[in-house]
Structure formats: structure tokens, C-alpha cells
Amino acid sequence: MIDALPLAVTLPLLGACAVTVSPAHARGLGLLAAVLTAASGVGVTAAVWSDGVLRVDLGGWGAPLGIALEADGLSAAFLVMANVVALAVSVYAGGYFKSESARHFWPLWLLLWSALNGLFLATDLFNLYVTLELLGLSAAALGALTGTREAVAANLRYLLVGLLGSMSYLLGVALVYAAYGVLDIGLVAEAIEPGPIAWTAMTLMIGGLILKAALFPMHFWLPPAHANAPAPVSAALSALVVKAAFYLALRLWLDVFAPVLNEAAANLLGILGAAAVVWGSWRALRADRLKLLAAYSTVAQMGYLFIAFPLLAATPPGLARDNLLAAVVLLALTHGFAKASFFLAAGMVQKTAGHDRIDELGGAAQALPAATFAIGLAGVALIGLPPSGTFLAKWMMLEQAMILGLWWWLFVMMVGTLLAAAYVFRVLSRAFNREPTPYRFVNDARTELPALLLGLIATFGLGIAAQPLWALLEQGAFG
């Protein structure tokens, strides 16, 4: 079982090589690699769940010299979400792309997947930089796959912003290395002490990551990039790639910079998060296209995640803080499933209707009941209504905020919730129009079922059976 750890990173890499060598069989090979990778990702999580934290020193070289991979509860939680979503995206892409674009899609997509798994499992700051860079490059290339002018321009900007972000992160890493001479997360955490160097390094690294996580006001690059990418790519970018940057910020915050944190930094992140919630939701409400709406909704949803930082900082270690952390992870995971589902379904709507202008979408719903239901289920999770995982997560976060007396977060989140309800139902209201069409629930199983299943996981799965997440996070993630 231990071997699943490197496999989660190398399998997609091998797959990427295979599809490059044999583009004629890109889809078959790609799907095979996807299934194997997802199995190894789920395997790692299962192993962490039952046996505790896993660590592998590649080639037998330990820190500080060699490359090590480690999976604790936090990384396993993100890993399993990412791999299930990525598998669904792969199946969907198998039905979505024509052979020509499939040839370009599969190598980049598997490369991205490998970087993603590497990011969740890497244990040293420099390796993390490498995965971050790979992730950014492959994501921008995938985003430009449609080849339209808007897509290329948006993704060129995405590429540059991504480079800027990882550059900033790298500078921070260099500072840390110069000051403490180590890069392994555990060793850095032991060595670090409050002072200008640590603060500068933290600012640079977290600053780079929030640029990549599209935290307001550094979100400007996200909506055009995500809205113009092909649907499966949009799903992966919105659900996984920005989430990876958030994961890394959270990881650094919890494990590396814990001794040097101060409340001001946490509050700043929280305030930016609040602004993102309000602004992102508002822009989503005003968006005229379905995919643009979904992209702005991502900006808002990332905001909710950053509101966690001031709450975490204000809560003393103990049961309440553990529950809060788990709630934040639950929020991130649910959003991952929901947003992927939303984008995949939106892709079907776009394909069927020939466009995705919201005001002209009437009729598409009756032709695509499964996709409409997927949008509905994902929408429930985006709003944060029961029975979704986000409802529980928001309830826990807000209850903790009220216990701490920080009532204004409640206010911000309720405003965000109502705005989200408005933009989701703006879409769903198009599902009711007079023309009856023959009703078949599923028309194209290959693309509709992945979207529907992800939506079901986000609402019913994580909203009713989220308990195992706590058992998983017991493994090394709770203080």
C-alpha cells in the first residue's frame, strides 16, 4: 500500500508520456491512466485513513537531502477529492473532445494531474515550488485549448500571473533556505522564529499563493481564463487548481509559519475573503454567460475559505479549533465537487444550445434534465443550502464565529448566501418554459453522469455522510 504514494505522482506522468508517444490512442490510454491514477489516489487516502500518516523517502534518501512524499489527513482529504473530480473530468473529456483536440488535451491534462498530486504530497518547500510551477504552466496551456482569441489572451495573462505568483513564492523559499538552511516543512517549522526574515518570507510565499488562489483583489485574471476554457478544463481549473493554492497556503499557515503568525495578517486575509464573497457573488449575479457566472462564483467561494483564517487564529487549540479546521476543509472539498459538476453541466448546456447566454437558455433544460439537475445540485452546494456539505461547514464556521463574538462574519456570509441564491436561481429559472420536449432523464451518459455524480457527492454525500472526514483529519491534521 505504501507504494501508492509515489504511484499517485508517477502514473499520470507515465500516462502523459504514453499519450504523447501514441497520439492515435490518446483517449484510450488517457482514460486508462486516469483510472489507475485515481485508484492510487484513493488508495493513498484509504491507507492514511486506516494506518495513519504515510511517508516515503524516494530512493532511500531522507530529508534534508532526498525527495520525500508524505500524506497526512489534510493532504489525503484534498487528494481524494482531487482524484475523484479528476476522474470524472477525464470520463467527461473522453466524450467531450473530438479526436483532434483530444490529442492536445490528454498529455497536458495528465501532466497537470501529476503536478496536482505532487503538490498535495510533497514535503519540502522547493519541491512544492516545482509542482506549483508545473501546475500553473499546464493549466494555462489547457485553458487556451479552444484557440479562440479571448481564450488565448486570457490564458496568456493567467500564465503571467501564475509565473508572478510562483516567483514570489520562490523568493520566500530562498529567504527561508538562506536563513535556516533547510527546506523540509517539518525541519523549517522547528527552526523558524519570529523576526523580519520569517515575516518577509511568509508575506512573499502566502502573497504568491493568494495570487494563484485568486483572492480578491488579485482575482482579475480568473473569470476570463476559466470562462473561456473548454468545459472539462474549466471544471479542473475552478475546482482543483485554485484549491491547490489554497491548500498550500493553509498548509504553510498551519505547519510552517504557526510560530510567527499574528492576528493582523489573519484579519487581512479574512477581510479580503469577505470582499471576495460580496464582489464575486455580485459579479456572478450580473454575468450574462453561464460559464462566466460560474467563474465569478469561484472567486466568491474562494473568499469563504479565506474567512477561515481569522477564525482559526482567534480560536484556541482544542476541540473547537479542530472542528473549525475540519469545517473549512469540508467547505473546500464540497466546493471542489460542486464547482466541477456545475462547469461540466454548463459545458453540456453550451454544447446543446450552441451558446451559454443565460437569458436565452430556455428550453435547454427540458432537453437535458440530468445536466439541469446537476446544475441544481451544485447550485444548492454553492448557495450553502441543506443537504449539502457547504451548509454544514458554514453552520460550524458561523457558530464558532458567534461564540467568538465575531458576528460580522455571519453578516458577510449571509449576504454571500443570498446573492448566491439569486445567481443560481437566475439560471435555474430558465429551466421552466412552456415548450414541452420529450423527457429522457439521461441523454448522453458519458458526459451527463459524471456531472450528476459530482453534484450528488457535493449535496447528499458530503451533506449527510461527512463524518469520515473527521476520522481522516485525526491523522496528523488536528492540533
Binding site: Q366, P386, M396, M414, A421, F425, F432, P436, Y439, G463
Partner: protein
């Protein structure tokens, strides 16, 4: 786990599962859809009858499921929840039959019946909620499940009505959520407990608790259509008749009223609420709503809108009963939960029949409908007389107990409210009855569909109102018999007041 621990969950799922399956059906699988609908409805009825017997004997049914640490989904049965569960289960069965008849030839039936079933599951979930979290969960699911039903027709009117409905209920839901989270942050998990849980709360949070009460009341008041939060209800009239019937008699407004009852009795506790002036505030709000709703009903020519404003008024009797300190008024409020349901659903079924058969939508078009459709009109008459409070129909029993309770508690102004509102009820219902029975029919009906069978209209549309009218009549006639709504409401009041 034992059967007892699963019974509440089984009651919720007995309509949830058929609902989900119905979504998957093709439009033309009429037979399978009907089988699923009826199986769910009958299975639920069987389970509920089982539960009634158990709860009567003091048996405790509870399903508890830990969602995440610290948050439990609790479905449990006490006398109050059984009252509401029994009402919704019975009326769902009847409404399903009616809806099958009503929508037989219209499009998108799979979507309609799927959400229809989920709507009832949510209502039953609300009834069985054992804590505030569970209540909030099902309360929101109810919003989600009813929206597609209101929007069902897909006309611009329907889209507008649904939008207004959604804006109101989402706003209300957000307030309820704020109140619930705030309360839970103050006092920990809020389990519904007979006698309330806040009686022993420390003095220094009292002010906050009172504030939270009003936040919760505002959240619940939207669905219960308390003035000035009632604006959605007349707009939602664009929905098909069975939906209006369900919304008004069973699901939405009742969920709000039931929530108010729960918060007063089982969260705050009636003593706490009385001592802090919360009951008086609720009573005034309910009274204003009762009078305002009746006045507005007077001015409506559209039959469905008149019935809608009548609902605004009538549902507040439940809140009024809860707001008077004393077991007798409590009985009046609780029993009205059922009585109003039986009478109002009858009226809406009849309104649907008039519209369907004769194209009659307005009060002014109803001249002579009595002779043309005698059975429907007879049922309508029973419902209308009951709403006015004429004995022996069920509405009389509710008003009698409310009045007795008010006199007992020394709240004479409530008596005045009851008298005025009954006069207004008479003023907006009697003219309809006069038109129906005593005026000559016009030469031509607005849009007549002649039914070819032996009856005045298809059986699936005729039997439901006749059955509910008979039930409304017998609930009044045999009020003192065992297992009537009145007897059950008395049981609840005895348990709430700890006698």
C-alpha cells in the same frame, strides 16, 4: 438498530425515494409513475398509523444520525409532530389522487411529481424534526422543492410568482438560519423539549434571547404568511391547483405556523415566552394578520386570490392559539392546524374543479355553479361554512376553543378579534355561496369542458374534495370521539402544560 429507531426516517423516505425514482421516468410512463406515487403515499400512511398508536401509548421513536461532530440530524415523534405528520400524510394521499387527475394531459409530469413527493418528504421532516438544526434543514429543502412546483407552468406569470416566492422564502430562510446559529452559539444544541429549554437560562443573556426570538419569528413568519411578510402568497397562486392546495393546507404555510408553535412551546417554553412579553407580541402580530387577511380577501374577485388571503388570515389562528397563555387556547390553535388544512384543501380542490370544468376563475362568474356542479359545490359549501365557524363543521370547534381559552386567560381583546374576523369571513364567503346556489346560471360558461362520464367531473377530481369535506364535517361532528384532531390536540396541551 431497531425498527423503532428507523420509523421516523422511514416515514420521511417513503415519499423521498419514490420522488427520486419518478424523476428518472420517461414522460409517457404514466402507469409506473402512478404506481410509485400511490405506493409511497400508502406506505407512508401505514407507517404513520403505526406511529400514532405508539405515540399514544407513550412510545418514543427517534432516529439520530451524526452529520458531523456536534451536529445531529434528529427525527423524533412526539404528540405535536404526529399531529402534523398525520395531517400531511392523509392530505398528501388525497392530493396525489387529485393531481394525477388534474395534470393527466399536461407536460413535464415526471418533474412535477418528483418535486411533489420531495415537498411532502420535507414537510414530514419538518414535523418530525427533533432539534432546530434538523428543522432548518427540512425547512430549506421545502423551499427548494416547492419552487419548481410554483414555476411549473412556465408562463411569465408563473416565473414572476416563483421569483417573488423564492425571494421571500430565501430571505426568511436566511433569518431563520441566523437565529438558529446564534441561539446554538449561546446555549448549545437546541433540542425540542416539552416545556422548552430556556427556562433555566442565565439572566444576562435574556436580552439576546428575546432578540433571537424575533429573528426566528421573522424567519418563520415568511412561510406562515404573517403580515407584513405575506406578500408571496397571493402571487404564488399561479401554481396549478393541486400545488396551491398543498401549499396552503399542508406544506408551506403550515410549516411556518408549526415552526412558530415549536419555538414557543419547545424551545423557549411557554412560561418563559409569557413572562418576557413574547406571547403578547406574537398575539398582536397574529391578530393584525387575521384582520388584514380577511379585509384583503373581501376585495378580491379572483377566487384563488380570495382563498389565498383567507389562508393568510386563517393560518394565524394557529399562532394566535400559541400566543395565549393557557391550555385551552393551545388546544384551539393546535386543532386548527388540522381543521384549517381539511377545510382549505377542500376549497382549493373545488376552485380547481370550477376552473377545469367551467373555466370559472372569478367570484363574479360563479352564478349558478351549484346546480351545474352540485357535489363540488356541496363540498365547497362545507369548507366555506367551516371557515366562517358555523357548527358543526370543524372550524367551529377551533374558534370555540380559541375563544374559551382567551376568556380563560382574561384576554378579552382576542374575543373581539375572533368576532370581527368571523364576521369578515362570513362577508367574503357567504356571497360566493349565494351566487352558487341562488343565482341563475349564465347561458354560457367562460370555457366549458363537458365531462362525458356519469359524474359532473372525472372521479379523481371529484372524490378528493368530497372526502376532505366529509372529514372536515366529521372532525366537527364527532370532535369528542377518540383519535379525532381535537382529542389529539388535548393530549398535546396536557403534555405541554405538564398535567
Amino acid at each position: 438498530m431497531s425498527f423503532d429507531a428507523w420509523l421516523p426516517a422511514a416515514i420521511v423516505l417513503s415519499s423521498m425515494i419514490p420522488g427520486m425514482l419518478i424523476f428518472l421516468l420517461r414522460e409517457e410512463s404514466y402507469r409506473l409513475r402512478t404506481v410509485l406515487n400511490m405506493t409511497g403515499a400508502l406506505a407512508k400512511l401505514g407507517l404513520v398509523i403505526w406511529m400514532i398508536g405508539g405515540v399514544y401509548d407513550g412510545q418514543r421513536y427517534e432516529t439520530r444520525w451524526t452529520l458531523v461532530p456536534g451536529l445531529d440530524l434528529v427525527l423524533s415523534a412526539d404528540a405535536l409532530s404526529v399531529l402534523f405528520v398525520a395531517l400531511s400524510t392523509l392530505l398528501w394521499l388525497v392530493t396525489t389522487i387529485y393531481a394525477i387527475g388534474y395534470l393527466e394531459h399536461s407536460p413535464n409530469r415526471s418533474r412535477f411529481f418528483g418535486f411533489f413527493s420531495i415537498c411532502v418528504s420535507a414537510t414530514v421532516g419538518i414535523a418530525l424534526s427533533g432539534n432546530l438544526l434538523t428543522f432548518v434543514i427540512f425547512y430549506e429543502i421545502l423551499t427548494l422543492a416547492t419552487y419548481p412546483l410554483v414555476a411549473h407552468r412556465g408562463t411569465p406569470d408563473a416565473a414572476h410568482g416563483a421569483k417573488v416566492y423564492l425571494a421571500y422564502t430565501m430571505g426568511g430562510g436566511a433569518l431563520l438560519l441566523v437565529g438558529a446559529i446564534w441561539l446554538q452559539a449561546l446555549v448549545g444544541p437546541v433540542e425540542f423539549t416539552q416545556g422548552g429549554i430556556l427556562g433555566v437560562s442565565p439572566e444576562e443573556i435574556r436580552g439576546e434571547l428575546i432578540l433571537i426570538f424575533f429573528v426566528l419569528l421573522a424567519g418563520l413568519g415568511v412561510k406562515a404568511a404573517l403580515v407584513p411578510l405575506h406578500g408571496w402568497l397571493p402571487q404564488a397562486m399561479v401554481a396549478p391547483a393541486p400545488v396551491s392546495a398543498l401549499l396552503h393546507a399542508v406544506a408551506v404555510v403550515k410549516a411556518g405556523a408549526f415552526g412558530i408553535v415549536r419555538v414557543v412551546y419547545d424551545v423557549y417554553g411557554v412560561e418563559f415566552a409569557y413572562a418576557n412579553g413574547l406571547l403578547l407580541a406574537l398575539g398582536i402580530l397574529a391578530s393584525v394578520t387575521i384582520i388584514y387577511g380577511s379585509l384583503m380577501a373581501l376585495t378580491q374577485d379572483s377566487l384563488k386570490k380570495r382563498l389565498a388571503y383567507s389562508t393568510v388570515s386563517q393560518v394565524s389562528y394557529i399562532a394566535l392559539g400559541a400566543s395565549i397563555f393557557g391550555p385551552i387556547a393551545t388546544i384551539g390553535g393546535m386543532v386548527h392546524l388540522v381543521h384549517q388544512g381539511l377545510m382549505k384543501i377542500t376549497l382549493f380542490f373545488c376552485a380547481g374543479n370550477y376552473a377545469e370544468t367551467l373555466g370559472v376563475h372569478k367570484v363574479s362568474e360563479m352564478d349558478g355553479v351549484g346546480r351545474r356542479m352540485p357535489w363540488t359545490s356541496l363540498a365547497f359549501t362545507v369548507g366555506a361554512l367551516g371557515m366562517i365557524g358555523v357548527p358543526p363543521v370543524a372550524g367551529f370547534v377551533s374558534k370555540w376553543y380559541l375563544g374559551l381559552g382567551a376568556a380563560d386567560a382574561g384576554s378579552n381583546w382576542v374575543l373581539a378579534v375572533l368576532v370581527v374576523s368571523s364576521l369578515l369571513n362570513a362577508a367574503y364567503f357567504l356571497p360566493i355561496l349565494h351566487r352558487a346556489w341562488f343565482r341563475p346560471a349564465p347561458k354560457q360558461w367562460p370555457q366549458e369542458h363537458r365531462h362525458t362520464g356519469r359524474l359532473e367531473i372525472a372521479g379523481a377530481l371529484l372524490w378528493p374534495p368530497v372526502i376532505t369535506a366529509v372529514l372536515a364535517l366529521s372532525a366537527g361532528l364527532f370532535a369528542a370521539a377518540p383519535f379525532t384532531p381535537l382529542e389529539w390536540a388535548t393530549l398535546i396541551a396536557e403534555r405541554e402544560y405538564g398535567r
